[in-house]
């Protein structure tokens, strides 16, 4: 068997795939979040930024890459979680716990699928639906979506899920990749927390801003 295929069939290889795709998606989220902030400068600034992105001929390529990252991340999560959930079919009667695990670490397999559902809603809202329109004002679509109570709830809830998922994910990815020198442990953990806070504040501020100023 090809050594690469063997790697992808092993526990550690699959974890590597999760870590690499996860960190790539984190990078994407940071860029996405920075772009979203243009809405604070007004609808026009946001639409200008959107135009700039959409007029880039490399956009379809970037979108395909992004889709690939998500699909692989989800697929390998299903493979890994499937094995984890069948490795102990006789469960403990007492509550198992040493106090090291966190709410974030134990809910990765829940926040993940919830985010996938959100992603489908989100892509429908701002990517697929505009393909069906002749003319659209993206900023106005965002404002309408987030000023609606249901939209506000979905988007702010999803961002809370992103925060919970990311709180565990960043340092976990580095541990999986084998970067865990005691000297860098605190640095990696704090960087992960900082990125999580930035993402939650950056993404999450927008629905609150639009909903409560509207």
């Amino acid at each position: 068997m090809n050594s690469f295929i063997r790697f992808l069939n092993s526990s550690i290889g699959r974890k590597y795939v999760m870590a690499v795709t996860g960190l790539s998606l984190t990078l994407f989220l940071l860029v996405h979040m920075a772009g979203n902030l243009t809405i604070y400068a007004g609808n026009e600034a946001f639409n200008e930024y959107a135009d700039l992105l959409e007029s880039n001929p490399l956009l379809p390529l970037a979108e395909a890459g992004l889709l690939g990252l998500f699909v692989v991340h989800v697929l390998f999560a299903v493979l890994l979680t499937g094995k984890n959930k069948t490795s102990r079919t006789d469960r403990y009667q007492a509550n198992l716990g040493m106090g090291a695990k966190t709410v974030a670490s134990t809910t990765m397999w829940i926040t993940g699928p919830v985010l996938l559902v959100f992603l489908i809603i989100h892509i429908w809202d701002f990517r697929i639906s505009k393909e069906l329109m002749k003319e659209y004002d993206l900023a106005q679509m965002v404002v309408d979506r987030l000023r609606h109570p249901v939209g506000f709830m979905i988007y702010s809830g999803a961002i809370a899920m992103v925060g919970l998922h990311m709180w565990h994910a960043f340092q976990s990815a580095f541990q999986t990749l084998g970067v865990a020198h005691p000297r860098y442990r605190a640095l990696i953990q704090n960087t992960g927390r900082l990125i999580t806070v930035l993402l939650v504040a950056g993404f999450g501020g927008i629905p609150f801003y639009l909903f409560f100023t509207g």
């Binding site: 403990y92 134990t106 990765m108 084998g178 865990a180």
Partner: protein, 257 residues
């Protein structure tokens, strides 16, 4: 007969897992035992078993050997914690002074599909032996003993290798892991050789073989909760897991077949 209560005596209500064999249905059995604070947890189970034998009932099966915290035989989950509530302590070194009079204590086996229950608290941990056999060895020349310090070893590496070698293979890491993963054990066994010059000839082959065997045994995958490190009676660090991940990736890149 009125029994006079001695200083340090405790009345403990034990709920112990009773299971007749692998796959058989199991249940807790409740027994009251008079303990003394100087007893170890295993001695408490000895007292319980004596009571059971005297009254014509079947004693509980549990594993034990050295009773001084170094053999890794005793394996039981006490109130949801492998080896009980005391940090870095095996069940045999856990003393009843950790408990108070009237405490109710639940004892169950390690629970992992790769560690099937043999009977009561005893599990079959031979999966660990097979992981060790897959690569936990070094090629050495037998014959007369080599000169001390003939091979220079960096002090930091020697210390890290020694810390990894402190693993007693009890399985508490698997028992504590939400995914029943054996990565802390496997990484400790791999690290103790990888960090030393004597371990270099089989370095890549070892990483591949031990991880593949670990996967084949049906353990779960590590999701970095670090419960294993907290449960380990020898305080084996999860940096060993990071090392194993690196070693496995390195060996994959270097393999020729």
């Amino acid at each position: 007969m009125i029994q006079k209560k001695n200083h340090g005596d405790l009345r403990i209500v034990l709920e112990v897992w009773r299971q007749n064999g692998p796959g058989a249905p199991g249940a807790f059995e409740e027994h009251e035992v008079m303990a003394n604070e100087h007893m170890s947890f295993l001695e408490l189970l000895d007292v319980l078993n004596e009571q059971l034998v005297e009254s014509g009932k079947e004693p509980f099966v549990f594993e034990h050997d050295c009773r001084e915290g170094i053999c890794g035989s005793c394996a039981m989950t006490i109130d949801g914690k492998p080896h009980g509530p005391r940090d870095r302590t095996t069940a045999c070194q856990l003393h009843m002074r950790e408990y108070r009079n009237g405490d109710r204590v639940r004892v169950e086996p390690w629970r992992a599909n790769a560690f099937p229950v043999v009977k009561d608290l005893m599990t079959d941990r031979s999966a660990f032996d097979r992981i060790q056999q897959a690569g936990g060895y070094v090629s050495i020349n037998t014959g007369s003993a080599p000169d001390a310090h003939a091979i220079p070893v960096n002090k930091e590496n020697a210390d890290m290798a020694f810390d990894a070698a402190a693993c007693i293979g009890c399985g508490a890491c698997v028992a504590a892991c939400p995914n029943a993963s054996a990565m802390l054990f496997t990484s400790a066994k791999l690290s103790q050789y990888t960090l030393l010059p004597q371990g270099q000839p089989e370095r890549d082959q070892r990483a591949l073989a031990m991880v593949d065997q670990m996967d084949a045994e049906g353990f779960g995958n590590c999701t970095n909760h670090y419960e294993c490190e907290a449960a380990c009676p020898k305080g084996i660090s999860v940096t060993n897991i990071a090392r194993m991940n690196r070693e496995y990736a390195r060996a994959t890149l270097r393999r020729r077949n």
